[in-house]
Amino acid sequence: MLSFAWIILVFPALGLLINWIFGKRMGKSYIALVASAAVFASFLTAVGLAAGLAALPADARAVTVPLWSWIHIGDFQVDFALLIDPLSVVMALVVTGVGFIIHWYAATYMLVDDHHRELSLRMYGRFFIYLNFFILMMLTLVLANNYLQLYVGWEGVGVASYLLISFWFYKPSAADAGKKAFIVNRVGDFGMALAIMWLFFLFGKEAGSLAFADIFHAAEGAGAAAAGAMTGITLLLLLAATGKSAQIPLFVWLPDAMEGPTPVSALIHAATMVTAGVYMIARSHPLFEMAPTTMAVVAWIGALTALMAASIAIVQTDLKRILAYSTISQLGYMFLGVGVGAFTAGIFHLMTHAFFKALLFLTAGSVMHAMHGELNIDLMGGLKQKMPKTYWQFLIGAAALAGFPLLAGFWSKDAILYEAFLKSPLLWGVGIFTALLTAFYSFRAVFRAFHGDPRSEHAEHAHEQSPGMTFPLWFLVIGSLFAGLLGLPALFGEHVNVLGNWLAPVFADLEGEVHGSEGLELTLFLVSSGVALLGIFIAYARYIPEWGWAKALQRLFSRLQPVLENKYCVDEIYMAAIVNPLRRLAEGFYQLGDGCIIEGIVNGVGAVTVRAGGYVARMQTGVLGMYALSFFVGVVLVLLWFLLFVT
């Protein structure tokens, strides 16, 4: 039954085609129904794939479903094939599961535009076409069995992301944000392209394809001889991952991407697309394992990104931006996880994060609607009474994010921190401090937005959203509460880690992981819990009773505030150090090289060609005798040529 895996791609493709062709005649409810049903059907397929895979013995759980051989020239072969293994199925489940709920929510959310006017049918249809296109491309990415197909999906989700960030294209800020995301991602994608070419150059002949299994096998065969090249390749892959997953140095696009409609922020810029980098590294783990240097770089980039983004998040006042920086920070944790070789933990956090971050974004969307587009938490307050359902949903999401003991985010973050500690206590130190900041900023948002008295007209008149938006979120609430139970630590027994057991065949080639003592595990477990509770308590102390010591604590750090509020001036630094010099260089090239030399040659050749075309066309006089003459000359020449060989 796994051979029917391809239908998982057919549903979103059909959904977008139907909405594209018939959308204008269907009406909004049918458009939303078609789009959501398509994703739901894909979700059911993914469940079926998981079941089909589970029925196989553990070491046979990697099934390649060939669709067709696309290009086959000499040594170069590109196939379209799906790789169904535990890792890709987990990703497909997350993408389609969370994706379905977000489609469902968006059906109501997108009825109005960014100014609360009714959204036109055309725009509404376009939104769901893009959304289905995104799901299609994301599934292509995670189900690819080779690097080139992965690249197709990688670029495809980039396009979808661009289209959706600048969905309110008449707003200059949205159009700019879309461009910024696209261009920054191009830098990373370039790394990806180079890495693929390098892989093909090194192993293409031996492996005969770019399929993961073949490449990994060939790389293993090359062994230490390829160590240097492997470091280069994995660093290029890492560059690609930092672009897509918004890590240092390419994270700058993600906060701006919040210009897109909120369901987009939830789906693409929190739950799924941005995790593609983590997935790609986990998928390429045999290559990364051969490059210890790169692994260390991955871990440190992750840790520092987590810290930096969390520190920026504590001073932001825009609710969606807080969540955006939080996403960058949490992605940092995932990088930290895969960087220390804890691939299972990284994927585990990817999964739990998808639930609670989608939940947080969607509730933020509800708040945004209630507040007539206002996202400044300074102007909120008291929403707890006005929108109780949304309050509880946001609270649970925030608690899961903060690492509140026993909720989803707690388990997965703890798993990463534990593995990090075994690798390097310093990495753990950065991680645990970030956890403190995370707990603080999550509950700062809760207390500022929902507690206290309303601080603005809009907050005064806020009201709960319709069930179309609140109801789907309960499924995400369930995920945020209980998804952590899929990855319980070894502390609770040998085989309680469901996700770990499920993913074990994928990462079976890794050397036996170092295991710390149970005592250590328990200690770290308690420290994590304590830190999370401490962070929440500080936020409480600062914003609810506003105790003096908490304010004093804040004053202590107030010197840092300008730096943080300016986001470490990274945008400005990039502008001054990279963008502007590049522009000047380009200007120079344009003036000198392009303007004088190249344009001269090109236009010269072009002008000559076109003029020659004129002469040629003029030979066609329309006089029949002329035509016959041309024919006759041809006959004579052909015959002369043949007679030349008689003698």
Partner: protein, 484 residues
């Protein structure tokens, strides 16, 4: 008098077409029609159905082995695939002609009967293994096409194109027939198999081959035998232009292959160089002349000459390139007829006949009809040879075959020519997407269902055959393996 023992079932597709052609003429005499439109729809519908059935019958036979009928035609997988190319071109053109022909003619029955006869002639030409049969089928398709070219009696250009095509065609037939006679004189047979068996490379055979080549070059619109093509292509009703620019070439290429395979005594260097030089002249001339055209149809006519040049590049590689050429023919059927179909939508109707569309008619097309403009852009990009569209793979395989056969320089010339062609193809795209609409712009307010279907099928073909390039190519390779 004894009749030869005929084994007709393998020729079912041809019989269906010819039978339908006769039926159309009978129906026309028997029935009275309200107006030209009603007649046109009925005739087109019947024609389209017979084309579909013939295609089905052909497809069902693929892989069914070879069958020789009376020793003059050979039904093998090569000829079956040729049938499919020709029927594809015919089917798409009939869809396009559905609403097009009644605009200027009340004689739809003759129009479609001629299309069917031409189609059958082409299909016979591809399976002829005897020279007289080859000549007769060539004449069947030629005569039908002469009339079809001049079918629009109200338009001077149509008559002019037909007359030029006819006169030069007669000229060319003379040479063809003379070459055929020389073959007979040298070998005492008109059967290709017998000619191949006793070919000793005699001087008469050499000259005969030269004269036959001239006849084929004429049909393929190879330079300098191409002069009729721009006038005939521009003058003919647009569905006819699309049909003959693709299907005639297909039949001529396959027949030429069979002839070349039958003269093992003539060294490849002799005919190979002749073909290579004509190929270079053809693509270069076609591309350069296309650069300055203002009429969309004439531009496509020259582009069609250039594409014949690309395909000739594969010809020099011999039978190894046969699947490449077959692939190219399928590709070309989709993208070229698709392009002509869009061009037909831009023709401004006049009381008598649709006016020839200029490239400027496409100004701002994307704003008015985004789907149509997108389809045209896909055809143009595919004709240029941009991956992953089918035109790219067509060129890739044909040029690849030339390189493996040691004709690398020829492939390089072909690629350089593709660069030149990008100029005029992309100009259409630029005009459609970037130029603002003005008084020269025109597009039909309603796209007829038939033409719309043809365009949709062509777009699907261009995309799908690009995505499925390798499987299709491998399958075609299987079909021609017997010839190697």
């Amino acid at each position: 008098m004894t009749l030869p023992n005929l084994d007709l079932p393998p020729l079912l597709p041809e019989i269906i077409l010819i039978g339908m052609a006769l039926l159309l003429l009978v129906v026309d005499m028997a029935a009275r029609f309200r107006d030209a439109r009603a007649e046109g729809s009925l005739m087109a519908g019947l024609t389209f159905a017979s084309v579909l059935i013939a295609a089905g019958a052909t497809a069902a036979g693929i892989g069914g082995g070879d069958a020789s009928v009376a020793g003059v035609v050979l039904v093998d997988d090569l000829s079956r695939y040729l049938n499919l190319v020709v029927l594809l071109a015919a089917g798409l053109s009939v869809l396009l002609a559905w609403a097009y022909v009644p605009q200027f003619s009340r004689e739809s029955s003759s129009f479609y009967a001629l299309v069917l006869l031409a189609t059958a002639g082409m299909m016979f030409m591809g399976k002829s293994v005897e020279l007289i049969t080859l000549f007769v089928s060539l004449e069947i398709l030629s005569v039908s096409l002469y009339i079809l070219t001049g079918f629009n009696r109200h338009q001077l250009a149509s008559a002019e194109g037909a007359l030029k095509y006819f006169l030069l065609g007669a000229f060319s037939s003379g040479f063809f027939l003379y070459g055929l006679a020389l073959f007979y004189v040298q070998t005492g047979s008109t059967q290709l198999a017998e000619i191949a068996a006793q070919d000793s490379g005699g001087v008469l055979l050499l000259i005969g081959l030269g004269l036959l080549l001239v006849g084929f070059f004429f049909k393929l619109a190879g330079v300098p035998f191409h002069m009729w093509a721009p006038d005939a292509y521009q003058g003919a009703p647009t569905p006819v232009t699309g049909f003959m620019s693709v299907a005639t070439k297909a039949a001529a290429f396959i027949a030429l292959f069979r002839v070349l395979a039958a003269v093992p005594g003539v060294p490849v260097e002799v005919w190979g160089w002749a073909v290579a030089i004509v190929a270079v002249l053809t693509m270069t001339w076609g591309n350069f002349a296309a650069l300055r055209q203002k009429s969309l149809k004439r531009m496509l006519a020259y582009s069609s000459i250039a594409h014949a040049g690309y395909m000739m590049t594969g010809l020099v590689a011999g039978t190894d390139a046969l699947n490449a050429i077959l692939y190219y023919l399928f590709a070309y059927a989709f993208m070229n007829i698709g392009a002509f179909a869009v061009a037909a939508m831009l023709e401004r109707p006049t009381p008598n006949a649709p006016q020839d569309a200029t490239i400027d008619a496409a100004r701002g097309l994307f704003d008015r009809r985004p789907a149509l403009a997108t389809a045209m852009a896909i055809f143009m990009l595919s004709l240029t040879g941009i991956p992953p569209l089918v035109g790219f793979f067509g060129k890739l395989y044909v040029f690849g075959a030339a390189v493996s056969a040691g004709w690398a320089w020829l492939a390089v010339v072909g690629m350089l020519n593709s660069v030149v062609s990008a100029y005029y193809y992309l100009r259409v795209v630029v005009v459609m997407f970037m130029a603002p609409e003005d008084e020269t712009s025109y597009v039909r307010s309603r796209i007829p269902a038939g033409a719309g279907t043809a365009i949709a099928v062509a777009v699907t073909g261009v995309l799908l055959m690009g995505l499925l390039a390798t499987p299709v190519f491998v399958e075609l390779g299987r079909a021609v393996i017997a010839l190697r």
